[in-house]
């Protein structure tokens, strides 16, 4: 019988592609944010009084490029958007047909409040072992949220910022309640994903970082199925 890998080649390739693409998107996005650091709801807005949020100027050391340039930041943002969007598309299309797809399915016994309480307690004890599956329960919820909600929303809200895409797909404006609402969501979800990355890195550091990173490169070996 062929040895089962813990992470398939597709998962590993997508993971490292995203490390690069998402980092470029996020930090070039901060440069773009500096061009007009205010957020609005609805279709339009430009006056300070219309804004629901006034943003800080993000310092040059945390932006791509490392100085204020809206033109160059946009070029980086759109370059990284292609592998990000098509990587997600390929991953989501292949996932249901792969063994990994089952790891995201919530089992009936996981839907109880007791199961959730138990998993939260385990996390508080820094016990990250998965019980009876590749993911523990909080991990499942978080990955479902990121993979099926937040990442697709980033792409859709990003498309809504494009006047040409709005002409081609006017429903985008209806879904998000206008271009400036989409821009606000794009910004808020970007920071939510930043938070996810922090939690993700913290979990890796607390659960054997050398082994985790090595296995995300080599594939590792799947834990023996319980018999």
């Amino acid at each position: 019988m062929a040895e089962r890998l813990r992470h398939s080649l597709l998962t590993r390739a997508w993971h490292w592609l995203n490390v690069v693409a998402v980092a470029i998107l996020f930090f070039s996005g901060l440069n773009i944010s500096n061009a007009h650091p205010r957020l609005y709801w609805g279709e339009a807005g430009f006056e300070p009084a219309e804004a629901w949020l006034h943003l800080p100027a993000f310092p040059a050391w945390m932006t791509i490029p490392g100085y204020y340039s809206l033109a160059e930041a946009r070029a980086w943002h759109f370059l990284a958007a292609w592998p990000f969007a098509f990587g997600l598309l390929v991953f989501l299309v292949v996932l249901p047909f792969s063994r990994h797809g089952r790891d995201f399915v919530l089992r009936r016994r996981e839907l109880s409040r007791a199961a959730l309480r138990e998993d939260v307690a385990r996390h508080l004890k820094l016990d990250f072992a998965a019980h009876g599956g590749a993911f523990n329960l909080l991990q499942k919820y978080l990955y479902i949220l990121v993979l099926f909600v937040l990442l697709p929303l980033m792409i859709l809200t990003g498309l809504t910022l494009s006047p040409a895409m709005d002409a081609a797909f006017p429903w985008l404006l209806d879904v998000f309640g206008g271009r400036q609402s989409a821009r606000s969501l794009h910004f808020v979800i970007a920071w939510a994903l930043f938070g996810f990355v922090l939690v993700h890195i913290a979990a890796v550091l607390l659960s054997g970082p050398v082994r985790q990173v090595r296995e995300m490169i080599t594939g590792g070996r799947a834990p023996e199925a319980a018999t």
Binding site: A23, I24, F27, S28, I32, S33, A35, H36, R38, Y40, E43, A44, G45, F46, E47, W61, M62, T63, I64, P65, G66, S69, L70, A71, E72, R74, A75, W76, F78, L79, W82, L161, S162, P163, A164, M165, D166, A167, A168, P170, L173, R179, Q180, R183, L205
Partner: protein
């Protein structure tokens, strides 16, 4: 010892420096430029040529319409025209056309007009909604008669930014789009100076910097080389994308 924070700062510094190096290298710079062509190709493939930008209700018009870039041209000729309320303003339509035109504002207003309430999206990120009125650019181009070798329409403006004349250009798909108009009115009144008086372009499926203000001359050309910095517009010559549908 390097702490975790040091490692994170180091990785980020490496990423920023790496991106800067890539952008400055020949192949890296070309890759960044190529993305604009992919975006345009996919947008054109996904969008019907005549797909309209959304038009809004009068109640959705922004209370004021922000002026950006030049908000008061400082040339002597422009100021004289402004003092005379643009009575002597002329719009030339020339270049690769059969019948070069010179039109007065009254002649432009006598043509069939299109009025549209649309959203203006600045590359910086803000938006404003306004009602624009003017003849379709396609009508002017048909009056002048484009020659077959014409590929782009160039817009020459009366204002200068940082000492260089402002100009812009679009392709024939956008030039003949029904919502591409030469506007002389905003919200039912003559264009304010900050918004491009007396004439500005509206090309609704692209970002704000394509909407050239203070229009003096519309020129049909076969190539954008040799005009300004050769990239097709004032901001394009300074690194911005020529295709501004995104």
């Amino acid at each position: 010892m390097i702490g975790r924070r040091g490692i994170v700062a180091g990785l980020l510094g490496g990423l920023v420096a790496g991106c800067t190096k890539v952008a400055q290298s020949g192949p890296g710079g070309r890759l960044l430029d190529a993305v604009e062509d992919w975006n345009r190709a996919v947008h054109r493939a996904l969008t019907k040529r005549t797909a309209l930008a959304r038009e809004f209700a009068p109640a959705e018009i922004s209370p004021t319409f922000r002026g950006n870039g030049t908000i008061q041209p400082d040339g002597f000729d422009y100021m004289m025209q402004q003092a005379a309320e643009f009575a002597g303003w002329r719009l030339a339509v020339d270049g690769l056309v059969e019948r070069p035109l010179t039109l007065t504002l009254d002649q432009l207003k006598a043509l069939p007009q299109r009025t549209q309430i649309t959203r203006h999206d600045c590359v910086e990120g803000w938006s404003a909604i306004g009602q624009w009125t003017g003849p379709q650019l396609s009508r002017l181009l048909r009056l002048a008669g484009l020659r077959p070798e014409a590929r782009y329409i160039v817009f020459h403006c009366a204002d200068r930014l940082s000492g260089s004349p402002y100009y812009e250009s679009i392709d024939l798909i956008d030039a003949f789009h029904p919502q591409t108009i030469v506007a002389h009115a905003l919200n039912g009144a003559p264009l304010p100076v900050k918004n491009g008086a007396p004439l500005r372009l509206r090309v609704e499926r692209q970002l704000g910097y394509k909407h050239a203000k203070y229009l003096q001359r519309i020129e049909a050309v076969a190539s954008l080389r040799g005009i300004g910095g050769g990239k097709g517009g004032y901001w394009e010559d300074r690194g911005y994308q020529w295709y501004a549908g995104i």
